[in-house]
């Protein structure tokens, strides 16, 4: 049995998939147990820890004060400053989480995931005033989101998105005063505040395609065997924020429809999970 799994992993999986079950006992649409805890890193402005099955991800947010880019004297906002971001996401997939990654340079996977998360975060539409350090916004808070994977057992995208979102909800920023140029002081008398991401959640779900079967929340083994991968992220208004299909075989529209439906079903669970932990 074990030898068969090692020598013909794909054949081994097919035997299970034919009966609509996976080797770990899940059905094709079952999602592994997802847990979340926030604020566990006290030296960070905001932090979270997410586990989906054996995949575990830590996210910490560091806040720094900086000056915003100057607007042209003509008053025309250039393209770059229009899309100016106050949040920067970095994903680290080190050798600790899997032997697939090396410590020397960031892997392709980490880089593309980082790009996707950076693009996603701009869709949160957090008002610029939330990042103001002083009242006028002469200096602003910049948030550096660092996501570290500790254990890589597939579906890192979902874990990262949930971690990023709940850590951002956990961020507390302090009001400050600028005495002289370049002299910033935190005003401890003012109350700390949070970012206004009240009703703007991301609901992610990833899938792996093996033959004609679509597996929700794939584990590492399944990701390796798959011929295609789908990631769908919805927001609160049931709009697609990120949809990605890549694979060596094409996919039919109906399959995508099914995946979108499954992602919608996950809506309430994620909402509850993030809300409960941040109350």
């Amino acid at each position: 049995m074990e030898a068969f799994q090692k020598i013909h992993p794909l054949e081994f999986y097919r035997k299970f998939l034919e009966r609509s079950v996976r080797p770990d006992g899940r059905s094709l649409t079952d999602i592994r147990k997802t847990t979340l805890s926030v604020g566990s890193i006290t030296t960070c402005s905001g932090s979270s820890f997410v586990k989906i099955g054996n995949t575990s991800v830590v996210c910490g947010i560091r806040a720094e004060v900086g000056e915003p880019p100057s607007i042209n004297q003509t008053g025309i906002v250039s393209n770059q400053s229009k899309n100016h971001s106050y949040i920067f996401v970095n994903v680290e997939l080190g050798p600790i989480c899997s032997n697939a990654f090396s410590s020397s340079k960031p892997s392709e996977k980490a880089m593309s995931l980082g790009t996707q998360l950076n693009a996603l975060i701009n869709r949160l539409d957090i008002p610029t005033t939330d990042f103001y350090f002083d009242n006028e916004g002469k200096a602003r808070w910049y948030l550096y989101v660092d996501i570290y994977c500790l254990d890589y057992d597939g579906n890192i995208t979902d874990a990262s998105i949930i971690a990023m979102l709940s850590a951002l909800k956990n961020v507390t920023l302090q009001q400050g005063i600028i005495v002289e140029p370049n002299q910033y002081f935190k005003d401890s008398e003012q109350p700390t505040r949070k970012l206004s991401i009240q009703n703007n959640y991301f609901i992610p779900l990833s899938f792996a395609v093996i033959d004609d079967y679509i597996l929700s929340d794939p584990c590492l083994e399944e990701e390796k065997l798959s011929s295609g991968q789908i990631t769908i992220t919805f927001n609160e208004n049931q709009e697609i924020c990120l949809l990605l299909y890549t694979g060596t075989n094409g996919i039919a529209d109906d399959h995508l429809k099914k995946c979108i439906q499954l992602t919608k079903n996950r809506f309430d669970f994620i909402n509850k999970l993030v809300n409960e932990n941040n109350s």
Binding site: L243, Y245, N249, L256
Partner: protein
């Protein structure tokens, strides 16, 4: 649906005029340039060659490696993601199992980026692969759509330029093959409802068919010569024969 004029004078469902050139590089096994107005990309294909990094070697199929070089500056994280998307898209049309333990290297150099650069690159790579004579199970065409809603009207701009991409609510990139209806690659970024997404797929499929048809014509012209030239040559031939006949009659 009424047609909407865009800033550059195109209609909403109009793609920019395509210009292609194949075989411009002398060292590469295949190369192609794909230009759509100010978006211009050069792709080179080397392969199948021996695998440079033995760790990447695959026993049952060839490794496809894609390098994306931007027109300005060094390659960034965003470019790595583009590489990944392009690689996955073209890998699905290359018959990788034909040459196990080999590598197919694709190098993309951007001349200038004015939006829809991933689509441009995929199209360029497809032409370069054809030029290199790499076995494929079909052709691949790609198109980018950007979604805008103006006065509560949902509009898809086909093949958006950089400004349209920045100002859009969502950008959707699709790749389709010519031998099946399935989606080969799809990426949506922004905010798009489900219904609109499937409308976008429908639109993109039609646009991709047109692009693939163009690429077929480009390849045909390269191998058989331009049709107009052929026609002219034929006309000249007929004229010569007629002259000869006239002379013979005299």
């Amino acid at each position: 649906m009424s047609q909407i004029k865009r800033l550059d004078g195109r209609f909403d469902n109009q793609i920019r005029p395509i210009e292609t050139e194949q075989g411009l590089l002398n060292k590469a096994d295949g190369s192609a340039k794909f230009t759509q107005n100010k978006s211009s990309v050069l792709a080179a294909v080397y392969g199948p060659i021996e695998v440079k990094n033995p760790r990447k070697e695959k026993i049952l199929k060839s490794v496809v490696e894609v390098t994306f070089t931007p027109g300005l500056g060094n390659s960034s994280y965003q470019d790595k993601e583009k590489e990944l998307l392009i690689r996955n898209a073209v890998e699905s049309v290359i018959l990788t199992t034909l040459h196990p333990r080999t590598q197919i290297t694709v190098v993309i150099q951007v001349y200038s980026d004015d939006g829809s650069i991933i689509s441009c690159s995929i199209n360029a790579v497809c032409l370069a692969l054809l030029d290199a004579g790499i076995e494929m199970n079909g052709m691949i065409g790609s198109v980018t759509l950007s979604y805008q809603s103006i006065d509560n009207q949902d509009i898809f701009y086909f093949d958006p330029d950089l400004l349209e991409e920045i100002e859009s609510k969502a950008v959707a990139i699709f790749a389709f093959g010519n031998n099946s209806n399935n989606i080969i690659m799809s990426k949506v970024e922004g905010k798009l409802t489900e219904d609109l997404y499937f409308l976008a797929i429908k639109n993109a499929r039609e646009a991709c068919d047109k692009i693939i048809a163009f690429m077929k014509l480009a390849v045909k012209n390269r191998i058989m010569g331009n049709e107009q030239q052929q026609q002219q040559q034929q006309d000249q031939k007929i004229k010569k024969e007629e002259q000869q006949q006239d002379e013979a009659m005299k």
